[in-house]
Symmetry: C2
Subunit: 339 residues, 2 copies
């Protein structure tokens, strides 16, 4: 599928979704829309993702594209009216539009009418489907080995780790798939339930539904984790994913040097061994998962040697193989995780 990505005024630094899609998705990205950098190329800004021209708007996209993907989100998740022309043009050209905004495009009268007229789909990634329900407790019955990323906090790299592990496992010849649980993961994979938006009673059920759907088709499922089990706001989602997935193995993700919960600085990050106990003890009655490997995000450390030392220290504290998967690769982790 060929797509364009809207990232006005935010590419690449504040366009996490756009970057995730460029890095991991199977789409051919024909253009990035950013009126501030029109004329540049993606490669002028980021080196390790697929390249594409940066253009000022949808009118300047010459290639045939199947969809326009909204690759940024303003604070609050609203729709920025300065994007309306681009979305309108896309729909008039017969493109689908993929959005992870809180503002649902299918509830926008103009877009809904244009989509109907031009036979296009408006895919609001953040809108849970209507048939979700409570878990049956059967995720443990699937054939696949289920590997879940868990974290010490939000934004420590759980999605990236799941994506890197699944991709490298596939490249090594294993049959592996990702179970996406958040908006960027869902956009990358092209399907999935937005777990943080479902009715709280259905949290585990919405994960289980995905595990059951894919669990007999693959040998390994890498489940994208969310939040942290001691996060003051998001622990419910984390707990629901742990039990809904009935994971067999866990990968504990941490950011080097992190000491307090981001945005909740009065709460200290517990020690790594206490996270190991918390996650394993909580999983035990349902799936007996163990933390088999760790991932340390060292992106803010400039020096490679310092990063290496931080990883070595993490390995020792964790008592399991670990790596910064972007900086040092996934070999040690995959050796521990795959049979």
């Amino acid at each position: 599928m060929q797509i364009a990505i809207l990232a006005h005024e935010k590419f690449p630094g504040r366009a996490k979704t756009a970057l995730g899609v460029l890095r991991y998705a199977d789409y051919d990205v024909e253009a990035v829309l950013d009126r501030d950098s029109a004329g540049d190329r993606v490669a002028d800004h980021v080196s390790d993702v697929q390249d594409a021209p940066i253009v000022a708007g949808m009118d300047d996209v010459d290639a045939d594209v199947d969809a326009l993907l909204i690759g940024i989100a303003p604070i609050g998740g609203g729709f920025d009216e300065s994007w309306r022309d681009d979305v309108r043009t896309a729909l008039e050209r017969g493109c689908d539009v993929i959005s992870g905004l809180h503002y649902f495009l299918e509830e926008d009268e103009e877009f809904a009418a244009l989509a109907a007229e031009n036979d296009c789909e408006l895919w609001d990634v953040r809108k849970p489907h209507d048939e979700l329900t409570v878990a049956d407790g059967v995720a443990g019955d699937v054939d696949a080995e289920v590997i879940l990323t868990v974290g010490t906090d939000c934004s420590v790299g759980k999605m990236t780790v799941s994506m890197e592990l699944a991709r490298d496992a596939r490249e090594a010849g294993y049959d592996a798939a990702v179970i996406p649980t958040g908006q960027t993961g869902i956009m990358i994979e092209g399907w999935g339930n937005p777990i943080d938006r479902v009715v709280s009673d259905f949290t585990a059920g919405a994960v289980e539904e995905m595990i059951v759907e894919k669990g007999d088709e693959h040998d390994y499922l890498f489940v994208e984790g969310q939040g942290s089990i001691v996060h003051p706001a998001y622990s419910a989602v984390t707990c629901g994913i742990l039990h809904g997935s009935m994971a067999d193995q866990l990968v504990l993700c941490q950011e080097a040097g992190k000491e307090a919960i981001h945005g909740y600085e009065s709460f200290e990050i517990p020690s790594i061994p206490s996270y190991v106990d918390l996650y394993e003890d909580l999983a035990e009655p349902l799936s007996d998962a163990t933390i088999t490997a760790g991932a340390l995000n060292t992106s803010h450390l400039e020096d490679d040697e310092e990063a290496r030392r931080a990883v070595d220290e993490y390995v020792e504290t964790l008592g399991a193989p670990a790596s910064d998967v972007i900086r040092f690769g996934t070999d040690d982790l995959l050796e521990a995780l795959l049979e």
Copy 2:
């Protein structure tokens, strides 16, 4: 406030909400609607709740009532069309209607029109309000001591224990309030957030909002718990309540002899000491709650001596005071919980 309770064909055995309201709410119940038992009185069927006549329908309610409360729920939570006449009559008489059904009365065209016409309120207890958001992590800052009931499973008596403890604490002269989290609790208290129906990301936030609202007005808050921390479907809600409430003390509720998770019989109930560790370890990084007391539901044991032995055994296993609060009262628990 004077109310009538609709409980057609289900009173009292299958009318849990009706019974909870009769037992704990401050309402004056003027009538119970059950066409199967019309002519009886509540006292003919249940001895320890307020008495009221049982009538065949709203037309037979002679007293002035302010509201009709739907006190039963069919499987699936739909609206039973055989109740339409009663709801219509109530609205025509100017009564509000209180419902915990999944089917929202305010979305029913006839009821919405009648309510507008007669200046009545349709209160769909299960519909979360629109301003819920993520937790700020501040429930621990309130003045009140926060006491949460937690359980080994669903339906072991958490709501009943919270209600009994709060009522008896008030009768002993303490300033205590209930924080309701489920539909029956909300109907009894006349306010509250239906935690199992909120967006999963807002689970802790919806609890925190209530704690912050009441936390400086009372000395003790008894928070109604939900589910169990190792429940295959509902653990997310349990975890969100634990962290959103930032409880100071926990009361572990169990049903005598329970060995497997109800409806998920392939999952054994862990040992009582492992529940203690799970709940306390998970609470520790945010609020350092301890399990100070226990409650054992012995309602299915006919013999009082057998029930007493079961409670004694539970006290020993738990290492804390415990009781069947209905059978043996709350004295031991309140002594442990209140300063």
